[in-house]
Amino acid sequence: MTSAPQPVASEDVVLAVRDLTVSLPAGMERAHAVENVSFELRRGQILCIIGESGSGKSVTANAIMGLLPRSIRVSSGAIRLEGMDLVGRSPERLRDLRGRVVSMIFQDPLSALNPLMTVGAQIEEVMAAHGVGTPKSRRGRAMELLIEVGLPDPPLMYHQYPFRLSGGQRQRVMIAMALALEPTILIADEPTTALDVTTQAQILHLIRDIQRRKGMSVMFITHDFGVVAEIADSVVVMEKGHCVEQGSAEQVLKSPSHLYTRRLIAAVPHLTGKDRVPAEAAAPSPVLKVEGLVKTYRSGSALFGRQRIVPAVNGASFDLSPGRTLGVVGESGSGKSSLGRVLIKLLDSDSGSILFEGRDIARLSEAEFRPLRPKIQMIFQDPFASLNPRSTVGQILTVGPIAHGVPHKLACEQARELLAHVGLDAGTFDRYPHEFSGGQRQRIGIARALMFKPKLLIADEAVSALDVSIQAQILKLLDQVQRETGVSMVFITHDLRVASQICDEIAVMHRGQIVEHGPPSQIFLNPKSAYTRELVAAIPGAQQSSARSAGSQSTLAGHSHK
């Protein structure tokens, strides 16, 4: 299904980028955003541009659209759209082409839609801007498009404002806008990155479907090899502004020739379906035993008007043995992050018990719980927001232990040791967080959590903000830490592939409830609940990984062909 070659009729090239060089203003970390990049987009094909953050893939897309910021310009090379060079064209000419011949969909559909305009008005605006049709014909066309992108109840949807729509629905609206003028080329810049895995699968399917039906050419920018395997005809791999490899999807995925591509593919977490060899033998008593945990959010005032009640965690129960990792997976809004925050008492629970080393911490007050805080630590999702920008790394690491009475000198010593342990050099101690990359910051976050030698670590989406190659390193580090210290871990993630890499057991959460709980082999190969089955089937690139891990093939293939 993935890389079936297109018919011969599509051999002609719609978009050719030749030796494109885009220079950055002086003082940036490198001189060129992209340098000598060449590739071709053929008629009726999907070209995936893949690379990690900073590889120049979005700059390339923006250069084609003529949407580069003023301080960045194309310094040499050509962008030929059906034989016409776009570089150096007047802004008016480019504006005319945008939307009509080339259109684009963006990563974040919420910020790309105007919050003050109805869905219908926004789609019509695209046509009106190019002087196409009459108000009446535009209205009819907008309705057609809403049907085409598979939105439920188009007449109702037409009058809705973006905030009422889910992420997937918004992305469908973006696609409808992009399709309004039947463009020859659709540029999709990470259109599914902000979406849940099941929604992502639907949107990928929709793009593929529309592309086939209309014979459109699609340039699809992504960082996820799973998505590439799902959708691409041909692939361009970019690294630090250079195009390092290109070819058909099959060729690049199956037999990558460049070292970077090989490393990138190897780093992609794939479903193993095999159970992890636990770090420690099963102990008789669990370190954490959660029973019937409930957390409900109330918004609005009880005094004025109606109170809105949203159940976030609804009767969760599980236990965790020492030295084991429990994965908590689920889509956004499933309550997995709330669960993590309740466990560490950053949020108060409404009912249920959290037995930590046999003692119920759910009912403890903040003051009573403070002496226990060192034993339960957390690794946060966003390595940029979780470190105080005004503190040095040393202060960030030592402030906690010092507050708990550890002498300053000893705390500093421990901090330096830990930094070395998580793979950072000695100079790190006196630097500020902004001097580090995302992966390095996450190492600092891990070091902070380890300062107290905790018994329980809660990792809340600890690797989801990182590039795949960094992700693999951090997962390895966490595994190593667990094997050395015997700490138990609750690993919260939306990515089932990541969960399959590191967890001994996995709990699948759906609308605040744990719908399935078991070892990875059960969850991925023989899921009991319908929701888990749906979730596993939606994992992009499932065929690719099932081809790799023999034995899991039959079950996975069975789901993904639905």
Binding site: R373, M378, F380, V399
Partner: protein, 292 residues
Amino acid sequence: MTTIVAHAAPTRWWHSRAVNRFMRHHLALLGIAMITLLVLACAIGPYALPYDSLHIDLRARFAPPLAGNHYLGTDPLGRDLAVRLLMAGRVSLAVGFSAMLLSTLIGTLVGVTAGYRGGWIGAALMRTVDGFLSYPSIFLVLALAATLRPNPVMITVIIAVTSWMETARIVEAEVRSLREREFVQAARMVGLSRAHIMFREILPNAMGPIIVAASLAVARAILLEAYISFLGYGIQPPLPSWGNMLNGAQQYLASAPWLAIIPGAAITIAVTSFNFIGDGLRDALDVRNDNF
């Protein structure tokens, strides 16, 4: 393979970029220059000039500026206007700065507490702010000044007490958004006390808006002091302030206009300079103003 050497950052990005943006703001630089000049003149000037600010010379009444030894002329009692202007500057600027410090302190304390605690404590504090704001501060100032003994310290306190609300609101909004950031959650995770989180973790991150508000507060405080002194409830003669110099000049507006123009110009220069600095700081600390 696992050891990663931190790539050397060329400079402290935050500092250098903000300073760069500030340097591009020419009016703010002009403001800094004017204030520096004014402060230096007030500090050194009275020693350099040959007269005392209280020295009465009835033979030299109403001397116009640039006539004889009195560079800026003399007042109805023959006192040298230049010395009086600089001595008044000491009082006015000192009152302005101290009132700013005090009001920023109050505003920050209230703002951080209300922003971080939230709930009924936050609501009570912010409703107090609303209460103060809904009362016209000029009347409040005048009412207080009329009942309390007006001396520079009292005037400072009165101005501070009626102008901390703006800072409180800015800080409260800033802290409320910072409170949700993960580094604050992390600080709670490692078991830091509430006071430590509020003042050591959050406050340094809210300094930008506080500094901007403070620079604008100086301008406001100088203006308020001039206002109440002009009305006669502020700094009392013979101690000069820019405001009471204006008050004394009223009746001679037609015959000796320089008596009003000179202190008026001093107030204008000081207030606009502080406003320029405030604008410059606001732009410099706002990352969105980077042209990249």
